[in-house]
């Protein structure tokens, strides 16, 4: 049983999606996250344990390696895909309430702005940290954030902006959210954004990179 979890952790850490996946070369022809998750469920391991003792630690190792510049994004993406394959098998247990994530994270690039690379990285890392993600995409106005919050009460919100002329839209979104769901924790980020700006517009936290965002969100969840 333990062995299965160790193998699953390794499969996710190194991005082995399923048995037929050629990547990574060192795990060729071995079971991937897909098969190992099925085996783990069949072996009676609790889904919550699968999540907490294999998937999240694997992604946290990946996040650490990434932060230390020991791997590139493609490796991280492969791990995210492997985790996705595992989560797909765990889906019914989320629906039945047998497992819970740390919470929901609603993220989007603000109105007028299409830069999404940074946002996508943040969303991937937060998901790896054990959160459910609602990605609203790019060019997102306050109405969509408010609607997503209605559907996901208590969710944490992340706003991304890369242009000096769109970061100001963050202020409007924060104020609108404060009207509808005042308790919402709001994180902001993007190249022109600063901690000072964050304070000025009444958001809760500025993170310069995904790692800092995950650390902050883990504090929220604990």
């Amino acid at each position: 049983m333990e062995d299965l979890l160790v193998k699953l952790l390794e499969a996710v850490e190194f991005g082995k999606v399923d048995k037929k996946s050629p990547y990574p070369p060192q795990l060729r022809d071995m079971d991937g996250a897909h098969e190992l998750t099925i085996s783990a469920i069949e072996a009676g391991i609790k889904p919550q344990i699968i999540l907490e003792e294999a998937l999240i630690p694997a992604m946290s190792k990946v996040g650490k390696k990434f932060a230390e510049c020991k791997i590139f994004v493609p490796q991280m993406l492969m791990s995210a895909r492997a985790m996705g394959a595992s989560m797909f098998q765990l889906k019914p247990f989320f629906a039945s309430g047998a497992i819970k994530t740390k919470g929901t994270f609603i993220i989007g690039t603000v109105k007028g702005d299409l830069h999404d690379i940074g946002k996508n990285l943040v969303s991937m890392m937060v998901e790896g940290g054990g959160w459910s993600i609602v990605d609203l995409g790019v060019d997102v106005g306050s109405d969509k954030f408010v609607e997503a919050l209605k559907n996901n009460p208590g969710a944490v919100v992340g706003l991304s902006a890369l242009l000096t002329t769109t970061m100001v839209n963050m202020g409007e979104i924060v104020s609108t959210i404060r009207v509808h769901a005042p308790e919402t924790k709001i994180l902001i980020g993007g190249a022109p954004v600063t901690a000072e700006f964050c304070q000025n517009i009444g958001a809760d936290f500025y993170a310069p990179d995904p790692q800092k965002a995950v650390e902050y969100m883990n504090l929220l969840a604990s």
């Binding site: 510049c69 994004v73 100001v168």
Partner: protein, 458 residues
Amino acid sequence: MKYKILVINDPKELMFGIAPNPVKTRRGLEIGGGQVYAELNFTLPVMSINNSTLAQVYTHYREIAEGALEHALHMNSKGIVLEFETLLEMTKTPSIGVEIVKIMNGVCENYYQKHGLSSEIRLTPNDLREFERPARQRSSQHLEPMMELFEQGMIAGGDLLSIESTGGKEVSDEALMMCDVKGMVFALAVLGVRDMHFLWEKIVGLANKHGKIAAGDSACGFANTAMVLAEKKYIPKIFATIVRVISVVRSIVAMEEGAIGPDKDCGYEGPFLKAITGIPISMEGKTAACAHLSPLGNIASACADLWSNESVQNIKLLSGMAPTAYLEQLEYDARLMNAALHAGKVHSHILQQLLVASDIYTDPQALILSPENVIRISGELVKGDSYVANAKNGALAALDIIEEALLSGKMKLPELETGYLPILRDDLNSIPDNESEFIAMMLPLLDETKFTLAEYGL
């Protein structure tokens, strides 16, 4: 591809300030005609653009232009280009963009009439088609305001026309993150090339109608995105280097359609375009650090005809406003290059060698920009029968050059990087030269919900 041979074959002839086909402008600049000019790029500080702020927006641009030209005059400048890279609202509502061109053109004209200072405006509208996914490159309603800004903007005094067009970006965004070189070739050499033909035929048509200059397009959304990601250590530098080379076959389509340069500053594929077509180019390097970091600060100027920065916000520094401060830096760099040109070939070559030597082996993206390597890679970029084959051959030549530099011990890269060399080579070698075969090979591998083939004429 129309170009089969290089206009510049000898690395020694690939020199800053000198292009085989210089471009003369209305107020007397001769870009590539024997001297380097500064091209200043600027943007708004943190603010919204809406009806209540428009007056402020216009004031910013007027002050930027006046500040820059006044200082250029003071520095005895031989001429400058102001690049007006619009912000979205200015293309979405073309009248805003046109008004800003008018204001800045008025300033330029004033300095020309009163002081004989030559300056021109490069007008760079946004590619709004990016707002739709899957993109509707040909049928999008966004084309209308884009083209209107081009046309009305040139009538208002925007003489050099550019854009950072985004055809193929819906495929490249993911390919970049996955280091998928085949995906990048598909995005740039198949989709990008087609969209460039479509778009530049229109831009060149408008430019010819109004006697303006169709300048060129930058693969910013592809190759500079790669460079910035590599700078953040998100993807390998080697991959970003290869993407740059592949982007040449896409950007050169503007010239095939009749663009004559100066190619746009953020297109670091410019040196290849200059070697292949003889057009003058604009480049940015250390002076772009206000907007993004880069590993090619000096070498980028080795064959630049316009020397540029990147969007710098109109904020106050201790010396003055930031765009004015950047103009000064650009102008000093241009002066140095011009002094070398005036002193003769020996001197300009020494300066060029120093610019090259100070960067070349620090990063593979710098390595491929040395004049020798530009010519070598350019030769490979024109020898095939299809854009796909040319992209592949150019990229393989770049890999050769990187491997030679590693083998000789002149360049060092960590294993995390070098591990990608064989992977990229195998991937490139798996690409068939024939475009139809390549498309047939790629379609099953791509998520076809993300792009619409018909919008690329396929």
